[in-house]
């Protein structure tokens, strides 16, 4: 007991000095002895501190008169939030953020901490992953404070609460949990906070780390937190009672709880009139189904059920497949893999070369493969269309899932035709029913069936019909608007 206590004391006493020793090994750590008229020691990290504050506020303050104590210096320097401390832990944290330290003598434990940090980062720019033609054109950036600014200016409410944690043993990354107090359910908030606190890992580079670490089922191919780079989309989520997670250094914020249908709704859906938005959303859902199922149905029907094809259509398919040396399954796998290859290459290459690859891969290789008789042009159309269809998903993460999910279906189709496809589908439906997002069902509003939530799932009804916030988030106040008499239909000539 006694020994342990002494150990702790030793640590505490030694830390400022050991901290200095460590820092002095780096070239960008500056220790500067100031003499006239105030004798003191100024030290800071040159790469993190703002030279403007140092030159315009701190040094002139020290030059004014002979200041004998840290309190006097504190009064003399016109910078906010200056503090005096002797806690080594705090000093370490602050100096690494770019604070300037002032001591009376070099071995003094009492130090003055002056906030002078500066951050390098890019400016707020237009969204590139979730682009929309109409609507706001601001996207999150890597700086947490800038991102918070983007949210706060959209939701000027005292109820907008921000809880901050620091995650990552080595990176000490700031992670903010944002929600509207009084609408977001505490159970959800507690679940999120609890799971974030339990994260024990060296680094926290991006918000996608969090998606994987706090997911209810980390073995699922489906992302269980929605990521977005659009502050407007995030605002939409916050006012519905959802919780947002922002990570310093990541331009993608997470919102939760979420459902599978939310991954297929774009922000455009809310900027267009409701019937147009509904039509486009349905097209998108159809595209997803097409993208997942088309090639497996091709394999199933051509391998096992050719009776199903009507005579007229059969002629077309047979003439395109007549010279192909491979069975449908091999043909499909070759083409699917080459499309994946193109995508992977396109994603890794710089934009300008990427376009070239698209032309070379898509047009040259495609045409050549058909001409060489390696693949039928019917299949080429199907594969190209299904690749195109998978790009219609507004959230990038789910399009990766769709890419992958296709392959079990193709295997099922090869084994037992349409019944095999059905079996794989049953597996995925079962998996989706089982899946949860922060403890709430992921497959809602289909199961559990929630009629009110269906108003904004496969279709989007007009805003005045959306009187309730979604049940999915279990909001504390569910009423969004009072259904008014103005909605009542007028009779003729009234």
């Amino acid at each position: 007991m006694g020994r342990r206590g002494r150990n702790q004391q030793l640590n505490k006493a030694g830390t400022i000095q050991t901290l200095y020793e460590k820092l002095k090994e780096s070239k960008d750590f500056v220790v500067y002895h100031h003499t006239e008229p105030t004798p003191c020691v100024i030290s800071y990290l040159k790469t993190m501190a703002d030279p403007k504050i140092l030159n315009e506020s701190i040094l002139p303050g020290l030059k004014k008169a002979d200041l004998h104590s840290l309190e006097k210096i504190k009064e003399a320097i016109p910078v906010e939030n200056i503090s005096i401390t002797d806690q080594a832990e705090k000093i370490k944290e602050k100096v690494l953020q770019g604070y300037v330290i002032i001591q009376m003598t070099e071995n003094d434990n009492q130090v003055l901490l002056i906030p002078a940090s500066t951050k390098v980062g890019r400016k707020v720019s237009i969204p590139e992953v979730e682009f929309s033609v109409v609507g706001p054109k601001e996207a999150f950036v890597e700086c947490l404070d800038k991102n918070m600014n983007l949210i706060r200016k959209r939701v000027p409410l005292p109820e907008l609460t921000v809880k901050e944690l620091s995650i990552g043993k080595l990176t000490n990354t700031r992670v903010a949990v944002v929600y509207i107090d009084g609408i977001a359910n505490e159970i959800n908030i507690n679940t999120v906070m609890q799971r974030l606190k339990e994260i024990d890992y060296d680094q926290m580079i991006d918000s996608s780390y969090i998606t994987q670490m706090i997911a209810d089922n980390s073995n699922s191919p489906f992302p269980q937190l929605l990521d977005t780079e659009r502050p407007d989309r995030m605002t939409e989520a916050l006012v519905e009672g959802k919780i947002a997670i922002l990570v310093d250094g990541s331009p993608h914020a997470l919102t939760c709880p979420t459902t599978i249908v939310e991954f297929f709704s774009a922000s455009d859906d809310y900027f267009l009139p409701w019937h147009l938005a509904t039509a486009f959303r349905l097209i998108r859902l159809f595209a997803v189904l097409f993208s997942v199922l088309s090639t497996s149905l091709y394999v199933a029907i051509l391998t096992h059920h050719h009776e199903m094809i009507p005579e007229e259509l059969l002629a077309t398919i047979i003439s395109s497949r007549a010279d192909i040396p491979f069975p449908p399954i091999l043909e499909v796998i070759i083409l699917e893999l080459s499309i994946e290859l193109l995508r992977e290459a396109g994603a890794r290459l710089p934009t300008k070369i990427g376009q070239t690859i698209g032309i070379v891969g898509g047009i040259v290789i495609g045409t050549a493969a058909v001409d060489a008789g390696l693949t039928s042009n019917v299949l080429l159309i199907i594969v190209a269309l299904s690749a195109l269809a998978s790009f219609t998903t507004p959230v990038y993460q789910i399009s990766n899932t769709i890419r992958l999910v296709r392959f079990p279906f193709i295997i099922g189709a090869q084994l037992w035709g349409l019944i095999g496809v059905s079996m794989v589908m049953a597996f995925f439906i079962g998996h989706l029913i089982k899946l949860q997002s922060i403890g709430t069902p992921f497959f809602a509003p289909i199961y559990p069936l929630r009629i009110t939530d269906l108003k904004d799932a496969f279709i989007r009804l007009p805003f005045n019909k959306q009187t309730q916030r979604p049940i999915q988030t279990r909001p504390l106040k569910s009423e969004r608007l009072q259904p008014s008499d103005a909605n009542k239909k007028r009779d003729i000539d009234e």
Partner: protein
């Protein structure tokens, strides 16, 4: 008294696993609709000819009555079949009866599983590799049953949503058929109608699983309405299917047809697809899977309640039994016999429900006077 409290504790189902009364509609309906509907038309028409749709209505009414009795039993005891048996017949006889019930439900599972594989063998893949296909199907079923009662409810819902559009296909045979086949109405005796009703009542088997899943319903009193709607919906679907088959086939033709509903899918034709029965059978998987999962879940829950065995082990064990039995029954005649036996036992189970009701009433009276 002490024992009774013990069983009450076992019965407790965590709040987050309960389902709302509304879903009882899907549970009852999905369990009643199985592989039977693919072939029932031929059998019910054997006794009552083309008046058999009246028999279906009679059978439906009888099921409503039985459902009412089941609810009566359950509401007075607030338990499931295991606790009811224990209260009524004591620990040993009651336990024995519960095991019998569990085995009966397992038999239902086997019947549905084997008959569906038979359908696939007959209509899609005559050379089907049964041991491999059954293995894959049972692995899938094990995964789904392991998801628990919530998962099964979800599957039942999906099954109704996916299978309901198949009803539109009835339009094709109705268009091609002759409505005069059904007339004259009622040219059979009451005895003939009733004996056909006895055959058709087998299509409604499955609602008795309510005796097992009743504790999983939130506010179970309110579910009564939905259960009756479920039975009513099943009746309507049976009647529509029967009348469609009667309109399309003549009486003598129908007698030769083994799978009337599937034969009717065969004539469906779109510009881009023919031979719709392949799609029909593939979609029918979504009717069959909830059916198998639900009955397997119910069959394995009874031993859990009785002996406190982990349900996962029971599901695994039962899957193994199903697997071996499915592979061993490889001749058409055997499968027909399996169906006959299951139907016969199912009929006795239906008869047993009123008997249980009377025993329970008598027992309650004795307890009250004491």
């Amino acid at each position: 008294m002490n024992k009774k409290r013990q069983s009450k504790i076992d019965l407790h189902v965590p709040e987050n696993l309960l389902v709302t009364p509304f879903f009882v509609f899907f549970l009852i309906h999905a369990m009643q609709l199985g592989v039977g509907i693919l072939s029932f038309e031929t059998y019910i028409a054997r006794d009552a000819g083309y008046d058999a749709w009246i028999s279906l209505l009679i059978a439906g009414a009888a099921i409503h009555l039985l459902l009412w009795i089941v609810y009566n039993i359950l509401q007075s005891s607030k338990g499931d079949i295991v606790s009811i048996h224990e209260e009524t017949f004591g620990k040993y006889i009651g336990g024995f009866l519960s095991i019998i019930f569990s085995l009966y439900v397992l038999l239902l599972t086997l019947t549905v599983l084997r008959t569906f594989i038979e359908v696939i063998q007959t209509w899609v893949f005559p050379q089907l590799n049964v041991w491999f296909f059954t293995l894959a199907l049972l692995l899938l079923i094990y995964y789904l049953v392991a998801g628990g009662f919530r998962m099964i409810t979800g599957l039942c819902l999906i099954s109704v949503l996916l299978a309901l559009p198949l009803l539109w296909l009835k339009f094709f045979p109705i268009q091609a058929g002759d409505i005069n086949n059904v007339f004259p109405i009622i040219d059979h005796t009451l005895v003939e109608l009733l004996s056909s009703a006895k055959t058709s009542i087998l299509g409604f088997l499955g609602f008795e699983l309510l005796l097992v899943f009743y504790p999983f319903i939130k506010n179970p009193e309110k579910s009564k309405k939905w259960a009756h709607y479920g039975v009513f919906f099943t009746t309507i679907i049976y009647v529509i299917s029967a009348i469609t088959a009667f309109i399309y086939f003549s009486e003598k033709q129908l007698d030769q047809v083994n799978w009337a509903t599937i034969s009717l899918w065969k004539i469906v034709e779109f510009p881009f697809v023919e031979r719709f029965e392949f799609i029909g059978i593939a979609l029918w998987l979504y009717v069959v899977i909830p059916n198998i999962c639900f009955s397997l879940w119910a069959a394995s829950r009874i031993p859990k309640r009785l002996f406190n065995i982990r349900q996962t082990y029971m599901v695994g064990g039962y899957c193994l039994i199903l697997y071996v039995a499915t592979i061993m029954l490889d001749e058409r005649q055997q499968i027909k016999e399996l169906n006959d036996i299951a139907n016969m036992i199912g009929f006795y189970v239906l008869m047993y429900i009123p008997v249980l009701f009377l025993f329970k009433k008598a027992r309650d009276k004795v307890r009250d006077t004491n």
